[in-house]
C-alpha cells in the first residue's frame, strides 16, 4: 500500500518581464511563475502539479499549498486516487482554511495545484493521460468528482448524469477522431501589447501559415492604438481568420461598449474579459450591447458559483476555463457540466507557464464524454515556455495533438526546477541582462 510521504513545494519564476512577453493592459510586466508541488510517495509514481501566477506573491501561493499539506501527508495513495472528488472536497471543505476564501483567490489557486497533482498521480498509476482517465469513467464516477453544493438551482446531479449518458455511445468514435485529428487551437502569440507593429504583423502572418484559424489581440490601454493595431492585424490575416480581442478587465460597462463600437468595423470575434471577472451583471449588459461580437470570460472567474451565474444570466457566449484558478480538475468538471447544460462552448484560457499542457486534458475530456462536439471550441495557445516541461504540448496544423503520456503533463524538467527557483536559482541570483550589458 503506497503512501503520500511528502508535499514538496517550489517557487518557480521566469523573468518574462525582461522581454514584455505576456504584456497586456492590466499586466504590463509579468514574470510568469508557478507555485509548484510534488506529491511524493514511498512506492510507484509521484504526482506533479502547479498553479500559475505572474510573479510577486507566488510565495503566498506556496504558503497556501503548504497549509493543506498536513491533510495530505500520510494518506494512502489508493484512497486518494480512488476518490478524487472526496480528496478535493476534504481539502476545500476544511472549515478553518475555507474561511480564507471561501472557494476563491489564493486558496483556490493552491487547490488547483494540489488537486491537479492528485490527478497526475492517478493518471500515472493507471498508465493513462488524464483526459483518457476521465473519459473512461462512468457517468456516476464523473458526477462523484463534483462538489454539488450551490449548484442545484442550475444543474442537478440527475441532469448531469443525463448529459453524460447521452454522450456515452459516441465516446469511442470521438476518441479515435481526437487521436487522429487533434483539438483545434487559436494563438495569442502575435497579440501582446508590448510588441512592435512589425512583430505583430509578422507573427499574425506566421499564425495563419501555421494553420491557425483564430488569433487574439490584447486591447484596452489606448483606443486609437487598438484601432490601428486591429487594422494591421485584419489586413495581415485577411477576412476569414477570426480575431478575438482581450481587454484583461480594463473597462467599466459603458467604456467597454464604446470601445467595442470603435473596433466593430474590423469584425472582432469575441471580446474577452471586458470588465471585472466578478461582475456577472455587467457582462450581461455588455453582451446585450455588443452583439454580434461575442462576450468571453473565465480565466479569473473564481469558482463554479460565478460560472453558474454567468450562464444563468446569459452573460457570456464563450466560457473560458483555466486549469489552475478554480481548485483543479474536479471544479472544472462541474463547470464543463454547467456549460453543457446551457449549451455554451468552452474555450480554455492557456499560455502562461504550463497552462496549455494541463488544460488540454479538460477540453479533450469535454469533447469525448461531455459536450461531444468541437463546434466553436478552441484551446488558447501561446508559443512560450513549453521547453521547460518534460512532455510539452504538441501543436501541428493549428491543433493540439492528444497527449499519450500518463498523467496531466504538468511535470517541469529537473534542470528548470534548479535554474528558475526563486530567489536562489541562477537566473535570479545572477546578474540581470541589463547589468551584464
Amino acid at each position: 500500500m503506497a503512501t503520500i510521504t511528502a508535499v514538496e513545494t517550489r517557487d518557480l519564476r521566469f523573468p518574462t518581464s525582461r522581454e514584455l512577453d505576456g504584456s497586456d493592459a492590466m499586466n504590463p510586466d509579468p514574470d510568469y511563475s508557478a507555485a509548484y508541488v510534488v506529491l511524493r510517495t514511498d512506492e510507484g509514481p509521484e504526482g506533479h502539479g502547479f498553479t500559475f501566477t505572474i510573479g510577486r506573491g507566488n510565495d503566498v501561493c506556496v504558503a497556501a499549498i503548504e497549509a493543506y499539506a498536513p491533510m495530505i501527508v500520510g494518506r494512502s495513495v489508493e484512497e486518494v486516487v480512488s476518490d478524487l472528488g472526496g480528496f478535493a472536497r476534504r481539502l476545500g471543505g476544511d472549515s478553518q482554511l475555507r474561511w480564507l476564501g471561501p472557494e476563491k483567490g489564493v486558496m483556490n489557486l493552491a487547490l488547483g495545484a494540489l488537486v491537479n497533482a492528485a490527478f497526475d498521480l492517478a493518471g500515472k498509476r493507471a498508465g493513462k493521460p488524464v483526459w483518457q482517465l476521465l473519459s473512461e469513467m462512468t457517468p456516476e464516477q464523473i458526477t462523484d468528482l463534483v462538489d454539488w453544493r450551490y449548484l442545484s438551482d442550475a444543474l442537478t446531479r440527475e441532469e448531469a448524469l443525463e448529459i453524460l449518458r447521452a454522450a456515452e455511445s459516441g465516446r469511442a468514435e470521438r476518441t479515435a477522431r481526437l487521436l487522429e485529428h487533434g483539438y483545434p487551437a487559436y494563438t495569442t502569440t502575435p497579440g501582446w501589447l508590448g510588441y512592435s507593429d512589425e512583430r505583430l504583423v509578422r507573427l499574425a502572418e506566421e499564425a495563419v501559415a501555421d494553420g491557425f484559424t483564430q488569433i487574439k489581440l490584447k486591447v484596452g490601454a489606448d483606443v486609437e492604438e487598438d484601432v490601428r493595431r486591429m487594422a494591421l492585424a485584419r489586413e495581415a490575416v485577411g477576412p476569414d481568420i477570426r480575431i478575438a480581442v482581450d481587454a484583461n478587465q480594463r473597462w467599466d460597462t459603458a467604456e467597454a461598449i464604446a470601445w467595442m463600437n470603435r473596433l466593430a468595423e474590423f469584425d472582432p470575434y469575441w471580446i474577452e474579459e471586458p470588465t471585472s471577472p466578478d461582475d456577472v451583471l455587467a457582462h450581461a449588459a455588455i453582451r446585450e450591447a455588443v452583439r454580434p461580437v461575442r462576450v468571453a470570460t473565465g480565466e479569473h472567474a473564481q469558482n463554479r458559483i460565478i460560472f453558474k451565474q454567468l450562464l444563468q444570466a446569459g452573460a457570456i457566449d464563450v466560457l473560458q476555463i483555466d486549469a489552475c484558478r478554480v481548485a483543479g480538475v474536479t471544479e472544472n468538471v462541474a463547470i464543463l457540466l454547467l456549460a453543457a447544460k446551457f449549451g455554451v462552448p468552452v474555450c480554455p484560457h492557456a499560455g502562461g507557464v504550463g497552462l496549455c499542457e494541463v488544460v488540454q486534458h479538460l477540453s479533450m475530456f469535454d469533447y469525448v464524454a461531455v459536450s461531444g462536439t468541437l463546434d466553436d471550441r478552441v484551446i488558447e495557445y501561446v508559443d512560450h515556455l513549453h521547453e521547460h516541461f518534460v512532455e510539452p504540448v504538441r501543436i501541428t496544423d493549428g491543433r493540439y495533438r492528444a497527449p499519450l503520456e500518463p498523467g496531466i503533463t504538468a511535470e517541469v524538467r529537473p534542470d528548470t526546477l534548479l535554474r528558475f527557483s526563486y530567489p536562489d536559482g541562477p537566473v535570479w541570483a545572477g546578474p540581470t541582462p541589463e547589468e551584464t550589458q
Copy 2:
C-alpha cells in the same frame, strides 16, 4: 519627515475551539485568529491593524501582508496619511499581486489589515478616532478614498458627492447625538450552535436585560433542532425582541426557502448568509421567496463589485460589511456609498477577534456623514476576546459608545501578543487543557 521603517507581522491565535465559542453550521471548531501588522515609524505614532481568520491558514495571511511590505517600507508617513485612497489603490493595483485575486480572498484580507493600519496611523497623528477623522473629511476627500473602477453602472463619483453633500449640514448634530447616545447593537452571544439549551436561554434572557433589542441564532445544521432552539429563544425573549438567524452559507436556494418556511412561525427578523456569498442570483431568488423575512449577507462578500451586484439585483434587505475582509476602510467607504444610493441599511458583521473594535468606526461614520440615519441599523456584538485590546469597545444599554481614543482601536495588548503568538506563545507551546486533565 517621518518614514515607515518596517511592516511587522505576527500570527496570533486564540484557542476558542476548546470551548465551542463561535461554533456554527459551517465552522464547527474555529480558533479565532488575527494576522496582525504594525507599521513602524521613525517618529511619532505607529499604525496597528489585523485581519481576522479562524485558525489554520492565518500564516498564509501573514505571508500575504509581507508580500505587500516592500511597497510600504521607506514611504513617507505624511504622504501615506494625506492620500489614504492612493495608498490603498497602489497596493491593490500592483499588477503581479492583483493576479492572485483579483481583489478577493487572502490578498484582500491582507489589504484589510494594512489599509486599516494606515488609517490607525492617520487617526493617531491627527489625534482623532477614525470615525471622526472620516466624518470631518470633505465630500471630495471622502470620494478620493474610493477605487471607482467597476462602479459607474451603479454609482458615479458625482452621485456619491451629492449623497455626501446632502448629509453635510446634519453632521454636527448627529455627532453630538452619537456621543451622547451611542450606536445600537445586537448580540450573537447567546446563539452559537455548540451551546446547550440552558446556556442559550440564560444568555438570551441576559441580552434582553442588558438592553439589547435584537439577538441572533446560528442555524442550518439540523432543521428540527433549529425549530426547537428558535422556539426556546422566542419564549425567552418575548415577541418584541428581534431574532435574526444565520445559516453561514449552509444551503442551496431551495433548501434555504424550505428551511425558512419551517422557522417562519417564530418570526425571524433576517436570514443571514443563506447560501454562497458569491451567489447574487440565489440571494435574489431567496429574498423573493421568504418575504417578509429579510435577507442579509456580506461578511464573506469579497469586494465592492459583489456588493454592487447584490444591490443592483435587489438581492438583500440588510448589507453586512466586515472591517477586514474587503481591503479595509477605503473599500468599505465605497460600499457604504453604494448602500446609501440604494437605500439599504448597513448592519456590520462583527465578533471574532477585534472586529467590533474596528467596524464601529465605519457605522459611526456612516451615520454622521453618509446615510445620516440609525433606522434599522445595528452593529453586531459578541461579548468575547475584548480584553485583549488596549481600547476595547464599550457597550452600555445595548449600544456601542463612540470611541474617543485616536486611531482605529485595533491595537492588541503587548502581553496578548506574547501569550497567543502561534506556534511559539505559551498558550500554544504549553500543554492543552485535555493534556493537563
